[in-house]
């Protein structure tokens, strides 16, 4: 891939950048989940690796979070955008060269960012932990170039309309840029106090709400109709989904700080809007499930559909939690507990990851014109992810409820720690399963590139039989 960085744009084969993005994403996924499993082991067994500053939990926790959000999820998004955006416009990517450079700079910047973060150069602001020069780099050399490629491809499309997926891609890349500018104002201009705290959580909320959630859903809007061959059930529901994401998901940031002295009216406003994130969720889930009509056999038979529909079904508990846990009545109980950690993993490792994994599987096979090397490894990957994630989610939800009860009933904290111990072990086992599954995936994808069955011109990957 690197040899094309200096090539002329016309000489770069279409799809090169998508493959580069895709493999980068998988590698980051392996790294990110590996770090996660390592951190989980330290929570279960505090003396697991000890005495070394750079292997201590406090130095590694944020590296796991940032590697997963900006490495795995965002690069998988980049991969999806590099091949889905032009496909939906019946055109080529605006610039393969920009795409390749973008992925290259993304990897360089993220490696640098994670290194300094690991070193301890932390801004002290959750989900915006990078020092401000890295934040600026992420904005200027990672997000905006990605946006430019997407926007220009859509402008140069050869269809009259823009398909739903591309609304989300265009809006998502635009919104993440705005969020990273506004959300990091405290670091750029040294804003302090409650302003800093609120903008920190405005930023954190909107990275999830205006980037990860809508773009992940947009991918499903492509995968399901493309693989099943069914038209998207309703353009109208697509409208409801898109507009409610922009209008409702961008507003409830204050619900992360229900116990901080923010203005009461803002909390009231935010918690009503917080429940209303169920509106885009209802629209998304109903649209996808209705599109599946008549093709439910593929949920069992087809790997990409199985991943997508599983992710889509996980949007139901995800949004039920997300909508209600932030209200004053429930937040009181579960704020700051493992419940929230479980919820965050349901969003990123459950819902969103399953949709992206499907897009990466589908895209890599389509672009490389190679059938997936081993279905068995693909299935193992699916079940390791699902069982690993479920173990994690269930154990952390229970741990969170224990913590909540301990908080409300004023149980000495150490008793809560003791009660949580078995669930911490389960969390580590779940995380390790996810990590192992991803190692299989990387191997499977590598073998697909090298030895996968060639897909003839004009055929889709799922029309061919697996050989292994």
């Amino acid at each position: 891939m690197l040899k094309y960085l200096m090539a002329r744009n016309e000489d770069i084969p279409p799809g090169s950048s998508a493959v580069y993005w895709g493999f980068s994403a998988i590698v980051w996924f392996v790294i990110g989940t590996g770090l996660g499993a390592f951190n989980a082991a330290k929570l279960a067994f505090p003396d697991f690796v000890t005495g070394l500053e750079f292997l201590s939990f406090g130095h590694m926790r944020q590296v796991h979070v940032m590697a997963v959000i900006f490495g795995w999820i965002s690069m998988a998004f980049g991969m999806a955008m590099m091949y889905i955006t032009p496909a939906l416009g019946n055109t080529k990517l605006w610039s393969e060269k920009l795409g390749l450079w973008n992925a290259f700079l993304w990897n360089v910047g993220l490696s640098l960012g994670l290194t300094v973060l690991w070193w301890g150069m932390n801004s002290g602001r959750e989900y915006s932990d990078f020092p401000w020069f890295i934040d600026l780099y992420i904005l200027c050399f990672m997000c905006i170039p990605l946006g430019i490629n997407v926007w220009m491809t859509i402008i140069h499309r050869k269809t009259q309309g823009i398909y739903t997926t591309n609304w989300f891609f265009a809006a998502g890349t635009f919104m993440i840029s705005i969020v990273l500018i506004v959300g990091n104002l405290p670091e750029y201009f040294h804003l302090t106090g409650l302003t800093e705290a609120y903008l920190t959580w405005w930023n954190a909320h909107n990275i999830l709400g205006l980037w990860i959630t809508p773009v992940a859903a947009a991918i499903a809007y492509y995968t399901i109709p493309k693989v099943t061959g069914n038209p998207l059930y309703s353009h109208r529901i697509g409208h409801l989904h898109f507009w409610s994401v922009v209008v409702f998901y961008s507003t409830p940031a204050a619900h992360h700080l229900m116990s901080a002295p923010l203005p009461e009216w803002l909390k009231s406003f935010a918690s009503v809007e917080g429940v209303l994130i169920l509106v885009p969720a209802i629209a998304f889930v109903s649209n996808i499930l209705m599109t599946m009509q008549g093709k439910w056999n593929m949920f069992v038979e087809n790997l990409e559909i199985r991943f997508t529909v599983t992710g889509c079904l996980m949007a139901i508990p995800l949004n039920m939690q997300g909508g209600f846990q932030q209200t004053r009545a429930i937040n009181w109980y579960i704020h700051g507990t493992g419940w929230i950690v479980a919820h965050a993993h349901l969003a990123l490792l459950g819902f969103s990851t399953f949709l992206e994994v499907a897009a990466v599987y589908l895209g890599m096979q389509t672009i490389m014109k190679r059938k997936l090397w081993s279905l068995t490894l693909g299935n193992i990957h699916f079940w390791f992810l699902l069982i690993g994630f479920t173990t994690y989610w269930v154990s952390m939800t229970i741990a969170g409820l224990i913590q909540g009860a301990g908080k409300i009933y004023e149980v000495p904290y150490i008793d809560v720690v003791i009660a949580e111990h078995p669930y911490m072990i389960a969390r580590w086992l779940g995380g390790s399963l996810v990590f192992t599954g991803n190692c299989f995936w990387l191997f499977n994808m590598w073998m697909t590139a090298r030895a996968g069955t060639v897909i003839p011109q004009g055929r889709m990957p799922h029309e061919l039989a697996y050989e292994r």
Partner: protein
């Protein structure tokens, strides 16, 4: 562009616009993907309506979080009653105080925020001092052994002080009402500008 308003629940577009939209949809290929012109299913609409109602109901602060000083005013008063003073120990005295103050609208809240005699002794003087000052006791919360002004910032009273109570309705909810109205109006207009749902595009099977 003019809107056809005689059958507004079907479409807001005039016939020319509808024909133009239909022609557009027929031609669109979208990289092999297509979208059906199905209506938003009724259950989805009902779920959205239910969500809006639930959102207001569930977020209204029915469950005040920290106990206000007003809640314990009657407890503090009861401490000086002779039968309480005569109680054999603190536990007994507390039981008596709780029994004495049953039957008010505060029952549920008091049950959620139980106290001991030691707690009461620590806040007694502070509550009395506030009573003497003649302030609204609901503006103060009991945090540990402190009775402090509550963390809420409500509207201004005529005398310039601020209401410090968790409101059942405030500016936030009013903004929500307007915000929601604009949203649903906008989505309604957008959706009704599409061709009528009775018409389905012939995806790719047409003559283009």
């Amino acid at each position: 562009m003019s809107w056809k308003m005689d059958a507004p629940m079907v479409t807001l577009s005039d016939d020319a616009t509808t024909l133009k939209n239909e022609a557009l949809w027929e031609k669109e290929d979208l990289g092999g993907l297509t979208e059906d012109n199905n209506p938003i299913p009724k259950p989805v609409i009902w779920l959205v309506v239910l969500t809006v109602i639930t959102a207001f109901l569930v977020t209204a602060p029915l469950w005040g979080q920290r106990p206000t000083a007003a809640l314990y005013q009657s407890y503090v008063d009861s401490m000086d009653k002779p039968e309480v003073m005569a109680a054999k120990d603190d536990e007994d005295a507390m039981k008596m105080i709780v029994a004495m103050n049953k039957g008010t609208s505060n029952d549920a809240l008091l049950e959620r925020h139980p106290l001991t005699m030691d707690d009461l002794r620590m806040i007694k003087d502070q509550v009395k001092a506030l009573e003497a000052k003649g302030v609204d006791m609901k503006d103060y919360t009991v945090v540990g052994n402190h009775v402090v002004i509550a963390n809420f910032e409500g509207n201004y009273r005529p005398d310039g002080t601020r209401i410090r109570q968790q409101p059942w309705w405030d500016k936030g909810y009013t903004i929500d009402l307007f915000y929601l109205s604009y949203f649903f109006l906008a989505v309604f207009l957008i959706v009704k500008r599409l061709p009528p749902t009775t018409w389905q595009p012939r995806h790719g099977h047409g003559s283009h």
